[in-house]
Amino acid sequence: MTRRPTDRTLRRWLRSGRPARVARLIDVHPGVVARLEAMSRLDDETAQTLGEAVAPSEDFAERTGGAVATRLDAYRALGLVGDLLGVGWRTGQLLLWDTSGARPDEDPPPVDEDHDPGGG
C-alpha cells in the first residue's frame, strides 16, 4: 500500500509531467479523485467561456445539414446508376445467351444415342 500523497505532492506531480504516477494512485486511493477534482475544477465563468470557444456557428446545423443531404442524394443517385447498370447487364445476358439458361461456354446437352428418330 503506498503512502497517501499530500495535495502539494499531487500538484507537483501534475505539473511536472508524471500523470502516470497520479493515475496509479487514483487506482489505489479512491479519495485522490475527489481531491484532484476539487483542486482542478474550472470556475463557472471559465467553463462557460470554454463552451463558447468550441461552439459551432449559429447557421452550422442548417448549412452542414444541407451539405450532408446533398452528398447523400449523390450517394443514392450513384447507387441507382449501379442498379440500372446491373439491370442492363442482366438484360444483355437474357438477349444474347440461350434462354434455357445455358451459357455459351457451357457444353451442349448430351445426345441420347439409343434413341432412333426413324423408328427402326
Binding site: 501534475l14 493515475a23 483542486m39 482542478s40 465563468e45 470554454l50 459551432p56 452550422f60 450532408v68
Partner: protein, 155 residues
C-alpha cells in the same frame, strides 16, 4: 444532425482547431454514419460517432501536415488564427481559444468533452483510447495547464 451535429463538431474542433475544417469533419462523419449504419450493430451509435469523429479529425490534421499546410494547433500558435472567428469573439473567448491551442489534442478533447458535454471518465477513455485512471490524471493536468495559461493558476 440536430441531435449529434454539435457533439461531433466539438470533438472535431478540439483536434483540428479550425471551424471550417471541423465542419468538413462533421459532414464526413455523418455521411459515413449513414452509409455504414449496418456496421453499428453491437455498438452504441453515439460512442461510434465520437470515435469516428476523433479519428476523422486526426486524419484531416495528418493530411494537412503531409500537404505542408498549417495543422490546426500549429496554425494558431504560429499566428495564423481563424481571423473571422477571432474578430467576432469576445476577449475572453479569444484568450481561451489561444490557451486551448497550446495544449495537446488529447488534453483539448478531454477538456472540451468533459466540460461541455459532461462525458464520464469511461466515455472519455473510449474516445481517446486511454484507461479511465489515465484520463482522470490527464484531465486534471489539462485543467491546471489551461488555468495557468489563462493566468489563474493557483500556486
Amino acid at each position: 444532425m440536430d441531435q449529434y451535429g454539435a457533439l461531433i463538431y466539438r470533438v472535431a474542433v478540439s483536434v483540428v482547431q479550425d471551424p471550417g475544417l471541423a465542419e468538413d469533419v462533421v459532414q464526413e462523419v455523418l455521411v459515413k454514419a449513414w452509409t455504414s449504419m449496418p456496421s453499428w450493430q453491437g455498438d452504441v451509435p453515439v460512442r461510434w460517432l465520437r470515435r469516428v469523429a476523433r479519428n476523422e479529425a486526426i486524419s484531416v490534421v495528418r493530411r494537412r501536415r503531409r500537404l505542408g499546410g498549417p495543422a490546426g494547433l500549429e496554425s494558431r500558435a504560429s499566428g495564423e488564427p481563424d481571423v473571422e472567428r477571432l474578430v467576432e469573439g469576445r476577449g475572453e473567448v479569444r484568450a481561451l481559444r489561444e490557451a486551448l491551442g497550446e495544449l495537446d489534442d488529447v488534453a483539448r478533447t478531454l477538456l472540451v468533452l468533459r466540460e461541455t458535454e459532461g462525458l464520464s471518465y469511461e466515455d472519455l477513455a473510449d474516445v481517446v483510447g486511454l484507461t479511465p485512471s489515465a484520463v482522470r490524471a490527464r484531465l486534471y493536468r489539462a485543467r491546471q495547464a489551461l488555468k495557468g495559461r489563462l493566468g489563474g493558476w493557483d500556486r
